[in-house]
Amino acid sequence: MINIPVTIRISLRALRANKMRSALTMLGIVIGVGAVIAMLAIGAGARERVSEEIDSMGSNLLIVFSGSTSSGGARMGAGSEPTITLLDAEAIKRECPAVLDVGPSHSGTAQVVFGNQNWSTIVIGTTPSLLDIREWQIIAGRPMTEQDDRSIAKVCVLGKTVVDNLFGGIDPVGKVVRIKKVPFTVIGVLGSKGQTMMGQDQDDIIYVPISTAQKKLFRPLFAGMIQFMMIKARSMEDLDDGQQQIEELLRQRHRIGQHQQDDFTVKNLTQMMQTAVNIARIMTLLLGAIASISLLVGGIGIMNIMLVSVTERTREIGIRIAVGAKTWDIRLQFIIEAVTLSIIGGGIGIILGQAGSIAVAKLAGLPVIISPLSIAVAFGFSAAVGVFFGFYPAYKASLLNPIDALRYE
């Protein structure tokens, strides 16, 4: 019969007898578990941030840019050549079955003035659809309407950052701001969407009807020209079809031959976001894997010390075997020692890992999420490390020949 509580006491006494060594051995596990916890927390945080971004972006999104120009052999960026038009947008909405809605946009940077405050921001001229496409709520006032667009109304919807910077507590709805010296009436305020992954403030924005933008603010090269359009597909599955339909339609409309380059670019925003999620997930796995290596190294440290301990205590083991300790009495004694080291180390590691995660969150401004699951897994893993790396030394100890062990100096 194996007396577990007594075996535990024996093991603890042995660990106490070598405090410094026990502490150093534990340190390996502390660092390993701490690193795993921190890395998983940072990884989960990054993934959460990306998911939030996807949500704030709106779902099932495609974006179409006008093509790039070449000037003297140097190709300009996407959207530099005016190729897509409002008519293209209407055609896409009409003719592509996978497309739910289209939000054509024409934008520019402008100085906005209210009273004695002024602020430089991005002004996007668009149709009322865009806010629906981006699933963006109006928290005060009203959204733009078709009527505003048709009548080239000088109305605007403000992002939260613009409101904060220009109004400072005053209700902006119904007030008049000047965009490029043109007076616009504020009809609504947008809810906050926060920052993008790149740290860009999505709320630093003003929406105006696209007709107004083109006639009063950013005069395009020709009537109806737009820079980009956001398109919402009917569903996640329709994204690829939608992209194909749009490309075919635009090639047709723009009369692009079979071997000619497109003069536009269609991008699958949602897919790009999914890619970002996947990257975040892979990063988490990678970080976790690297952290696990340190846990493994910590485990090897335990094994090393346990082997030293078995050798050092050969005589003690001989005495125990001589007076009647059985194979598993000896094995358990050393396994419990190893597990105790790894569990205490794991416990400290969990605390330090959390503290580290919170510190990273505070200092670097990265989001971190400490999941109870990762704590449970790290704890279980450290106990398993103890059993795994403790077993071989324990096995070795239990097989000692008592005659030799008793003579061991």
């Binding site: 005495i319 007076v323 009647g324 194979t327 009495d329």
Partner: protein, 230 residues
């Protein structure tokens, strides 16, 4: 005729060293009755230590049989032997072999730990054993705080704590001065006489061997003489 406790016949222990076989013990037969006090003598390499290891169930014979209280011990496995050692045999070694950084009381309790006795009973039994060897006022001392004689008494207390019928003492006085040796030997004699414990003692000092009532001499792996002494 007294009850037979230990009966060995044709007991051999052969060590394989390289290509050659060395017989440390060669077909030894011996029987020891309950309550005997046997001294075993012989030069080093005579096989007496090998014999003691076999008797103590620390080793298994290459051939031959060993009956202990009617049980054939020679065919038991490791953990069964551990159990025999635990409740039938008490060891007293030349080098004491006590656990360091462990109090006398806990050292004496050690065999009881492995026989699964409850803590309270363990403590009582260990205290009894320490009282028997006259160390009741040293129970909380660790081996390095005890003299050689006191350490050997702790070892003896450990040997008797499980009411084992046999004490195997391997040169128990080898590290002790004459006066202390005499005290330890008197303790063995007392345990043998008062408690009926069978004592088997290995020594190479004639005056120590003389405490026994039977003297067995080994040479070259065999018994060369076996006689009763005063």
């Amino acid at each position: 005729m007294k009850e037979i406790l230990i009966e060995v016949s044709n007991l051999s222990r052969i060590y394989h060293v390289g290509d050659s076989d060395i017989a440390a013990l060669n077909k030894v037969g011996l029987s020891i009755s309950k309550g005997e006090f046997v001294s075993i003598m012989g030069p080093s390499g005579s096989g007496k230590s090998t014999f003691m290891n076999l008797i103590g169930c620390l080793d298994t014979p290459s051939s031959g049989t060993y009956m202990l209280e009617g049980i054939d011990v020679s065919c038991l496995v490791r953990d069964e032997l551990a159990e025999i050692r635990n409740n039938k045999i008490g060891f007293v070694f030349q080098g004491f072999n006590l656990l360091s950084r462990t109090t006398a009381l806990e050292n004496v309790e050690l065999p009881l730990l492995y026989s699964g006795m409850p803590a309270r009973q363990r403590r009582e039994r260990a205290l009894d054993a320490l009282r028997t060897v006259g160390l009741e006022d040293r129970i909380d001392h660790q081996p390095n705080q005890l003299s050689g004689g006191q350490q050997q008494r702790v070892t003896i207390a450990r040997a008797i704590v499980n009411n084992a019928p046999i004490i195997l003492a391997d040169e128990p006085t080898g590290n002790l001065d004459t006066k202390t040796s005499a005290e330890i030997m008197d303790l063995f004699v007392r345990l043998n006489r008062d408690s009926g414990i069978t004592v088997i003692l290995v020594t190479h000092e004639n005056d120590i061997a003389a405490y026994g009532r039977r003297l067995v001499r080994f040479r070259d792996g065999s018994i060369i003489s076996d006689e009763a002494t005063s």
